[in-house]
């Protein structure tokens, strides 16, 4: 099986409601979807979400990197057999992108597309390369930024849906009041996590966490900006709230350094951020081996493609404490697949059992929602 063509779609799918957190505010999905085609006409779809403040990629540099650096090195070559995920991952060469931490969104998009294509070609589901260990996945809700009043309104909605795990975005002047109000609206039966997106100083982190710890906080995500791992290790000693790393964990080298410094209780593993399924599995395994908990995270505004990949990862990992994503049309004005990937009551969602990633992408929707479409061929 040889890859003979690819199409890149830079999407702009509006959100039904603006979604904001402390580092940025977004009103639409700006994922890049990759469609690959093999010599038998089989198609596969992958997706990456470029985030300047996470991997350093933008939509533009991601498109460029895919077209100039990644695609030419896989186009026309014989792909390894579908049943071998690590083989597929090493088939994709290591590349570098100037000014970026790692071109991981680009890599993830292409890896997922190749995997989807390879599996579809032989009519096999993801379970054949990534056997699930559970029959369904339970997602967390997210209470976004905005006024405390709005946060409470969101928390009530989470409660109406029966969500069992909720994460609140923090990093504002009113963090303590915000978390207190959200806890009250959720009631005691829901686990509560915080995500500061690196907005706090060390002192502010300690102060807020001390104040809210009695409310029962399961973890705080990225309390400090990405920086020296020793700062995180020190904070971990200074607060009773378990520390989760997100922006600090992009590469496998990051994972090693964080483990070495004992800087994290949890890893937030996200497929787009970590450069694909194979690397996400590797990072999660490194964490699990030393007792670091794992969250399968998501990208705000991801389409059904990344959600599907996240579902497979969350179902397959030996240990996973929290899972995020699969908001589908709760967030997007329109999703890209025939099947809805949106979670249901209590945040629960079934496994996806169809061939490849288990969803059928509607190409017409990609085309309609794209602001840029680029065709790549073997001729380059």
């Amino acid at each position: 099986m040889r890859l003979v063509g690819a199409t890149l779609y830079a999407l702009r799918i509006p959100f039904v409601e603006a979604f904001s957190h402390s580092a940025t505010e977004r009103r639409w999905s700006d994922s890049v979807v990759v469609r690959v085609r093999d010599d038998a006409g089989t198609e596969g779809f992958g997706e990456g979400a470029p985030r300047p403040y996470v991997t350093g990629e933008t939509v533009e540099t991601m498109l460029e990197h895919l077209g100039r650096d990644l695609w030419p090195r896989v186009a026309g070559r014989d792909l390894p057999p579908a049943g071998h995920l690590p083989g597929l991952a090493t088939f994709l060469p290591e590349t570098y992108l100037a000014g970026a931490l790692a071109p991981n969104a680009a890599r993830a998009a292409l890896e997922l597309a190749m995997l989807d294509c390879a599996l579809r070609r032989v009519g096999r589901p993801m379970a054949s390369v990534l056997p699930p260990r559970r029959t369904r996945v339970t997602y967390s809700g997210v209470v976004t930024a905005g006024s405390v009043e709005r946060a409470v309104q969101h928390a009530r909605r989470m409660r109406a849906i029966g969500m069992r795990h909720v994460k609140v975005k923090v990093g504002f002047d009113d963090d303590v009041a915000r978390v207190t109000a959200v806890r009250e609206a959720l009631g005691p039966g829901v686990t509560l996590r915080l995500d500061a997106n690196g907005a706090w100083t060390f002192e502010r982190a300690v102060a807020v966490l001390d104040a809210v710890a009695p409310l029962g906080i399961a973890a705080v995500e990225q309390p400090l900006p990405r920086g020296p791992v020793d700062d995180l290790a020190r904070l971990r000693q200074a607060t009773p709230v378990p520390v989760m790393v997100d922006e600090s964990l992009v590469t496998e080298a990051d994972a090693d350094a964080l483990i070495e410094a004992k800087a994290a209780d949890f890893f937030n593993v996200r497929i787009s951020k970590c450069g694909g399924l194979a690397r996400s599995l590797a990072i999660a395994a490194r964490g699990s081996a030393v007792g670091v908990g794992v969250q399968v995270g998501s990208q705000v505004g991801e389409t059904a493609i990344l959600s599907a990949a996240g579902r497979h990862l969350a179902a397959a990992l030996p240990e996973v404490t929290f899972v995020e994503g699969s908001f589908g049309t709760l967030l997007l004005a329109e999703d890209v697949s025939v099947e809805s990937v949106r979670f249901g009551h209590r945040g629960e969602a079934p496994l996806l059992t169809g061939p490849g990633l288990g969803i059928r992408v509607v190409e017409e929707r990609l085309r309609r929602r794209a602001i840029t479409v680029r065709e790549l061929s073997t001729e380059g």
Partner: protein, 228 residues
Amino acid sequence: METKTVRALFERQVEAFTGSPEFAALEAGCGDYDAFIENVARAHLKSPQLVAFLYALAPPAAARDLLGNLLEELGLEAESERPHPALLEDLLRAAGLGHRLVEVEARAADDVRRIVTEPLLYSALREVGLAALTEIVAFEFMLSRVSGRMARALATHRGLAAPALEWFTHHSEVDVRHAEQGLADLGAYAAYYEFTDDEALTIVEMTLRENVFTRRYFRDATAAGTPR
């Protein structure tokens, strides 16, 4: 649940809808009229089925109204009436979009398929019914106030004659009554199924958290408000 609160929410949505750039374009002669007509048809072709579903869940105090709505949707309320989906088909044909009918029907059917197959957000039919009733009453409310303007825009800028626009004119005349009944029915539903005010309002707000009218009628608009 206070009807007053729900009415205020509906009013705000109608205002946002008529204040949207897409609606302004429609009235100014520079809208995408064909897409608009198709979207209206897609949004309402399956109304009889949705109303039938709500009739099945209706509490005693609202059952008569919902049965009335259903008969009207089916064109069975009076001798001269036609089923509402037939009015939408007329609209498409008169607009020269008859060849699109199969596709629009398929999309409307797919919208139902999606609702039916997607995991339920709520734990019981009681909540599902409240969300569905909210949406249908919201449309009645909006149409009773705005469908005349939409019909005028289509007549002026798309050259459609009165018979083609009967779906719009029908809803503007009849639905003033429906909209008021609808609000009362929502209250009756919430009371009968013993929702607390907070519970009911949370579901109503969640259903209306986006502008349902803009979403259905201008579905390809971007977040920035400008069609691509």
